[in-house]
């Protein structure tokens, strides 16, 4: 099986990978958010496992959350209520939006697992005070994980862990380079599968597969079809490639993606010199990838870098209904992008794929317009 196939297959059943780690006697902690420092868990010998939702409609969590609240959070809580996340020893969250904060409260009150942890992130980024705060906060998290793992997390172990994770980040960037040519060698759907696979797989395994994938892509004989405009997809969390596939089916060439399950995860690497905890703190406070963070200008700059690097011709926002941070930024960013000559469309989606026909018409018209 090719590396691409192996990677894509591992996303189909991520629970299996967590199950294997568990069977090998490891502790597995679920987490949400690209701001969660995987390195600390890894250095403590704990397996960090990104929790994704399912395309299934929620049922049990309706007893706890109003239907006009974030469907992604309701979906995850639903999975937990149904016992489908029982293999996790707990959950680690980052303080980003209201929905996540309330998921924490509900998890603590009703799910009950050995660990339920909220890392606080200063939302105003790029400040010295914020950096100091983040350093303390991560220090506390490190101690909590040491207690939970029953072993110390040394600076050396952290440094090794940072190097390993940086390697994943830089290999993913190299894979993404194959999307830069006029005819990309990797489709948007494939790219998303690859990044999500690297999120769930043990990093040494992921890195080996990525190296092999790079060799495969260099001589890919049957690249995905691409003739439509070069599109960047952005917006709230998307953990199912169905939307990207739809854009590609109607003729868009998805060459870039600013999502929690893609570029936001690997774009910025961690400083490898000096105090490793300080490097991780700086990484979190200087990574302007999320609409929850402030100021918006930094995130806009980062997105414009993606636009330039991947020669994006149009941007599609897929915003989850009730996802305030991204819905608030949407219109302003659309105007900003259009001032810079990049047509942008704002679309509202649901986590459970529905109304695909209506979305398809909007995307098709947008592509016809470009």
């Amino acid at each position: 099986m090719s590396a691409l196939e192996t990677l894509r297959k591992s996303v189909k059943d991520p629970q299996k990978i967590a199950g294997e780690a568990k069977a090998a006697g490891k502790k597995v902690l679920g987490y949400r958010c690209v701001f969660m420092p995987e390195e600390i868990l890894h250095a403590a010998g704990i397996v960090p496992f990104p929790v994704f939702g399912t395309p299934e409609a929620v049922s049990l969590s309706d007893a706890y959350f109003q239907p006009n609240l974030c469907e992604f959070i309701r979906n995850i809580f639903d999975l937990a209520l149904k016992g489908k996340l029982d293999y996790l020893d707990g959950l680690v969250l980052c303080n980003t939006c209201d929905a996540v904060r309330k998921l924490y409260d509900h998890w603590k009150a009703y799910i009950g697992s050995p660990v339920c942890y909220m890392i606080n992130n200063p939302q105003r980024q790029f400040t010295e005070a914020g950096l100091k705060y983040q350093y303390q906060e991560l220090g506390e998290f490190r101690r909590a994980m040491e207690t939970f793992a029953g072993k110390p997390v040394t600076d050396d172990a952290l440094r090794d862990s940072i190097r390993l994770h940086n390697q994943t980040r830089s290999l993913l960037k190299q894979v993404y380079d194959f999307r830069k040519p006029d005819s990309p060698l990797l489709s948007g759907e494939e790219a998303m599968d690859v990044v999500m696979a690297c999120m769930v797989l043990p990093k040494d395994r992921a890195n080996a597969l990525l190296k092999q994938l790079i060799l495969e892509l260099k001589q890919r004989a049957n690249p995905p079809p691409s003739h439509g405009p070069r599109i960047m997809v952005t917006g709230s969390i998307i953990d199912n490639p169905a939307l990207i596939r739809m854009v590609e089916e109607v003729g868009g060439t998805v060459v870039a993606d600013d999502l929690c399950t893609t570029t936001r995860y690997f774009w910025y690497s961690v400083d490898e010199g000096g105090d490793p905890l300080a490097a991780l703190a700086r990484h979190t406070t200087e990574k302007p990838v999320c609409a929850c963070m402030h100021p918006a200008e930094a995130r806009l700059e980062y997105m414009m870098d993606l636009v330039k690097e991947y020669r994006v011709e149009g941007i599609i926002y897929f915003n989850l209904m009730y996802c305030d941070p991204f819905l608030y930024e949407g219109v302003m960013f659309k105007k900003k992008f259009e001032e810079r000559g990049i047509p942008t469309i704002l679309l509202e989606t649901e986590h459970t794929p529905s109304g695909m026909g209506q979305l398809k018409t909007r995307v098709q018209a947008f592509l016809e317009m470009l």
């Binding site: 259009e338 509202e348 018209a365």
Partner: protein
């Protein structure tokens, strides 16, 4: 060069037969008719005394566009609306399509090329079916609603965006013996307010042109004019704008 544009909408299916930029015939059938697209095309051909073999290109648009077997190509409603509106009124730069189940606000250039658009969310508020429900609640036939609303002497606010809730709001107004024309005016204002919001989002650029079946309703148009402070023009056959655009696109594609 003969071409046909067919707009398979959610309520009605429209077809136009064109020779270059001249409309030879039009046909409108209910979309629930069996083989509505075939019926509309056949009617167009019969009216012009032509047969299917004479037409080189047929482009289908509208929600049912992919189900039109005769189509040689497809295009979205958004692209076709803009093209059709500019064909009818060359100064059109902002096109409002007031359809049965969707409202679209489109900005375009002088050639009818789309530069931006917004659509109503997945809800019938601000569309033809909303008006249909109100027509039933008030027992005023659809074609008379606009005219009657102009006779209103008092402001009534209908605030619900949901068809079902708006209906109960209207019923409670009826119980309170509010005059029908005042309620109607309030209904038209509520639709127009929603469209005015969309107009602001897409950018209110002159000339604003309204197309689609609901563009025939003077009550809605009056309120949009008032709210937006701008003239809103309606072409002679507003419901055919999408079909005309499709026919023009069919001819273009056949030439290139």
């Amino acid at each position: 060069m003969l071409s046909i544009g067919i707009d398979a909408g959610s309520l009605t299916t429209k077809a136009v037969l064109m020779e270059e930029s001249k409309v030879l015939s039009r046909a409108l059938v209910h979309s629930s008719t069996r083989n509505a697209a075939v019926a509309a095309i056949d009617e167009c051909l019969a009216k012009a005394g032509l047969k299917a073999g004479d037409v080189l290109a047929i482009v289908a648009t509208g929600i049912g566009r992919n189900e039109v077997a005769q189509a040689t190509g497809h295009a979205t409603e958004i692209i076709c609306d803009a093209r059709g509106a500019v064909q009818a009124l060359p100064d059109a730069r902002t096109v409002m399509d007031l359809g049965a189940e969707s409202s679209r606000l489109i900005r375009c250039d002088s050639s009818g090329r789309v530069t931006d658009f917004v659509l109503n969310d997945k809800c019938a508020a601000g569309t033809g079916v909303f008006m249909d429900a109100m027509s039933k609640a008030l027992r005023v036939p659809m074609p008379d609603m606009g005219e009657l609303s102009l006779k209103s002497t008092q402001d009534v606010n209908i605030t619900s965006m949901c068809v079902v809730f708006a209906e109960s709001e209207v019923v409670s107004q009826i119980h309170r013996k509010v005059a029908k024309e005042d309620i109607l005016s309030g209904i038209h204002k509520s639709i127009a307010t929603r469209l005015y919001g969309m107009l602001n989002r897409v950018g209110n650029e002159k000339q604003v042109v309204a197309v689609g079946g609901l563009a025939r309703n003077i009550g809605v148009i009056k309120w949009i004019r008032e709210l937006a402070g701008t003239e809103v023009l309606v072409p002679e056959y507003p419901e055919y704008a999408g079909a005309v655009g499709a026919a023009l696109i069919a001819a273009d594609r056949n030439k290139s």
